[in-house]
Symmetry: D2
């Protein structure tokens, strides 16, 4: 099966599987009191060049929701892009974890919020009838496959800070965003004003592991209770932490992300050259959104390529996601089939 | 380190680790639409000899809380033993997942609720001022290391049914309870009136995998949404399901549990023969609670044996938990050290 | 003070105050088991020409939130106008009462949702990643002072029914909407597909009394527990019910609403004739939204007329609300002042 | 009907009804921005001899739950008497308002918690598996009709403070407790360590009005949002505040409470002198719990006296509550009937 459905259709990186086996020797203190978890905390502090509080969890939804729960009261508002994962794809998890906060969806080209739009949307502070502005959440890389620049993040952070809001970054594809530019993890986060990061690993090679990275110590105070009470404190935590340790070792996370991004570039460049195909957004990480002739879509699906249509069927838009293990031959096969369809069309 | 702290201090069974590697080939549909998850569902139906709805999750707290959430309204009451994991050890997870239901803790010898105590405690049905009786939750094996008999379960189920309550079984150590007797999984659950089971695997050899097994189809209707919204729907579900599949293959789960129970029997029999030691509860699964002379406790800890004191320190009570990978030599070393301490004392 | 700030700036109708005194004789069974509450239930069944379940509460926010809570699961979605009171003015009450459901704000001219817009917005049913469509809430009269026609309500109800959604009507100004047309209470509600009505009385002459009127008996099953648990079950319920009884007696509710609407017509007709003034929406009930020259606004405020600016100050929009006790002389004084300001301007 | 069912079976005091009429002149700013509300705040500061934040609400359940919600996180624990109203009679309201905190019911003679019992029960602070101790709630006068002494309150407060817990007082019958002794409102509350008081008026002559009185300013910060979001912010707030103002004017609240307590003393003294009758608890406020011969109970009910049996019917226990408007003739009639029944028996 040649699949471009999602990076979570991939399996796990071999280095990460091996780390699980290596972590398996003998007894270890449960619930995160083990040595591997301590090392992951230290390694992330090193990578982000600052003190951080790290909480491993198994899913991106848990990472996002717990991050928001320590920033946002039940009567709070969270500003996010209208296509954000937290708004569209988590079945109301942020509302559940915060005790009923309201997400305020904002429009924005190519999956990104602009600072001016954010600034204009924030309202109601101190008004007892209105939910209280509490946090902004941005996705890096975005749901449209684009990447926020440092200036864009800093601009949003400035608005957030001016209104006393926390800034959360959903980094399910943080590695893909990072390698898309020339900035350090620190620059892309706390140095630009990010308070809490959902640091994703699952989509980029882990079996199921994410780390919440908190740059403000006060956010960590109640995190542990909230994680436990949500059922996200693993007894055999070493097996989450071992995934993260292997992910961060020898730049595996960066190498995997570079490969995925390179495959997306190869695929999107090829597609853009085919008659009748247009890209919906700049391809900056590992996701491609494109409009194809309907006949081409049908043809590709009929040949067994697996991918999702996006939005209303009449739009003829598709999403193609590459991964750390995408085979360049599969990319080329897809492009060849698309070209052939274009010719036939 | 010789550890009897908990079965979750153990690592994973080799068969289960191998299954992760085997599950890793190529792309798979995410979120449980993969082939392994389907096979686990079928296998559990076979094991329980009935139609079941199966939802893999990663932690016991998630399994318990989600099970209760589909049975209990926000204004509901859940009856459980006062020492139950859901009451004492989940930081309020059932309250979180149900939207604020009340747990009603009941006393009972050796970690078990009696039907007559349950019957006397149920009150308030139809009274608008009172939380509404909604479910009973029992732990099998119990938090005291004992096992409910079929008759005991059926007695509780009869009371529950008479009052229109659901019956949940926290089976974090279900395998240990099962192999302690001569009954089938079906007899120990739905044939005795159990509606929902948290079927544990983590403590008995998995890295982090449990299955919620629902015996009433109507309970499954909203489960998926609740699981997703709690962040417990894994994108790469195959890695949860692969753990469960290996756990159930070739009776691994039963073999592991038999070993753990045998080690507990060996340890408790040995302990009971030492002067000054008394067992707090019958040892029926893989947990031992015992009162030891204070000097003996201090001596054992000083020699590097790792285990928990239980309750107030003045009680001189300890908990010892054996596991699927407990080495008989460690048991014997512990007994030898205890005997020596008794002699010195 | 001549105030057009809101109908809740008014006091109570004398008939309703007198009813409180009349209700005060001797002991009565608490919590709604009194005779007055029973009579209100019967009277509302008569008025709506069908069986209804009636739950008196003291505020509109409570009425709305409790109505939604019995229709919408925690993982549900509620479709409403983007200016709806439940979305903008209740500090997240629907989210609190439903346990975290998501409100989906919809655009629509003059404060009303169109059926086609609703139909296009409903999505995600059966998709485990998405909140589940559960209810539609419309406001009658709307937040823009307009009134849904029977055909408009029926059109929305048809879409709702086709998707299995409940239809809630926020009737904080139900009386004003009713007397604006020629339809019966039954036609305006259940005969057009409404399942639950927040039947307002506070804004139209009560001290603080609303009735939730449920047209589907199954919605009533858990309502009582939810009301109690929210602290909205009054011990001395007779004093809520007495307000409602007086409100419904001798058509007081209709007379009060007719007066308020007539005052709004007089005020808006007068305003529309003044140079530089334009009405933002058709004036169909007792609220007027109008754009005035900035100098005129400043002038009126300076003279002591009390009203709210609406939206951004640069818009020069104001809201004027009339009430059951609005004095025509105050209307005329306001118009005279506005005319004078226009002349000066 | 001669009713001793509850003080909430009474109507309203005439002074309070009159105050509603007096408050009804003309327009007033809604939502608590009116003059009467400001005066109530000032009057309570005077009565309690300190700065206070005052939030009027309509029910005791709302007052209790909102008070706890600003003290207790979702993962918190609230210690209370096992017979406390918040535990037994509010259908889980504290759990709803706190987002799922756990109530820990404590035993205690005559409806009161002892400091030593409280101290022994507090556990789990800093343990991520346990709900976190957050508040103590005591009822004054208690559910058994007894009154905490200053020393008892101070003892509980000392334990609470030592563990960093807030201290809430459910004062649904605060006036009855106050006039039972010789202490000032300040002494009975913040001077003894109380942080938040549900100051009841409904049971003692209001139609439906309570005031949350916060002695710690930081507790007030989020109270307004929580009250609004719960639907307990009244638009025509003046009608709540007018009740409270009249309640506090000319010592009406103290006079009413003295009458109710005097009637309870008369009734209990009379009862205690009748053969076969025994009082269950000291009668210190306006509630009497007594064991009567079964024939006497049946006889009294048959003659039309209205009151509740308490607990299991076989106990032959009844509750009798007197009120601000209890007629001494009714007390005497009840005593005469009981005496006659005793003679016949």
């Amino acid at each position: 099966m040649v699949s471009f459905t999602s990076d979570n259709a991939s399996g796990a990186a071999p280095e990460i599987l091996e780390a699980l086996a290596a972590a398996n020797g003998g007894a270890a203190m449960p619930y995160g009191a083990d040595a591997i978890t301590a090392r992951v905390q230290a390694r992330l502090a090193e990578i982000f060049e600052t003190e951080v509080a790290v909480f491993p969890v198994a899913t991106g939804t848990a990472a996002n929701s717990l991050s928001l729960a320590v920033m946002v009261p039940p009567y709070g508002a969270v500003y996010c892009h209208e296509a954000a994962h937290i708004q569209m794809d988590e079945c109301g998890a942020p509302e559940f974890y915060t005790g009923g906060a309201k997400l305020v969806p904002l429009p924005g080209a190519h999956g990104k919020i602009e600072a001016s739009v954010l600034g204009a949307a924030i309202e109601g502070a101190g008004n007892v009838h209105a939910v209280q502005p509490a946090a902004v959440s941005i996705t890096q890389a975005s749901e449209a496959g684009t990447v926020y620049s440092l200036a864009e993040i800093a601009g949003l952070a400035e608005v957030a800070r001016a209104h006393g809001l926390g800034l959360h970054m959903d980094g399910a594809r943080f590695a893909n965003a990072l390698v898309a530019g020339n900035h350090s993890p620190a620059e892309l986060t706390w140095k630009s004003g990010v308070d809490a990061l959902s640091f994703g690993a699952t989509k980029n090679g882990a079996l199921g592991a994410e780390a919440v990275v908190l740059f403000k110590p006060e956010l960590a105070a109640t995190f542990g209770y909230r994680r436990k009470r949500a059922g996200h404190l693993f007894s055999k935590m070493r097996f989450l932490s071992a995934q993260l340790e292997a992910y961060l070792r020898d730049d595996l996370w960066l190498r995997n992300a570079r490969h995925a991004n390179a495959m997306a570039a190869r695929l999107s460049t090829g597609l853009a050259a085919i008659a009748g195909v247009s890209l919906s957004h700049p391809v900056e990480a590992n996701e491609i959104f494109a409009r194809l002739p309907e006949a081409m879509i049908a043809d590709l699906l009929a040949q067994g390529f697996v991918f999702y249509r996006w939005g209303a069927e009449a739009n003829c838009e598709v999403r193609l996601v590459t991964s750390f293990d995408t085979d360049p031959k599969d990319v080329d096969a897809f492009l060849a089939a698309a070209s052939a369809a274009a010719t036939r069309g």
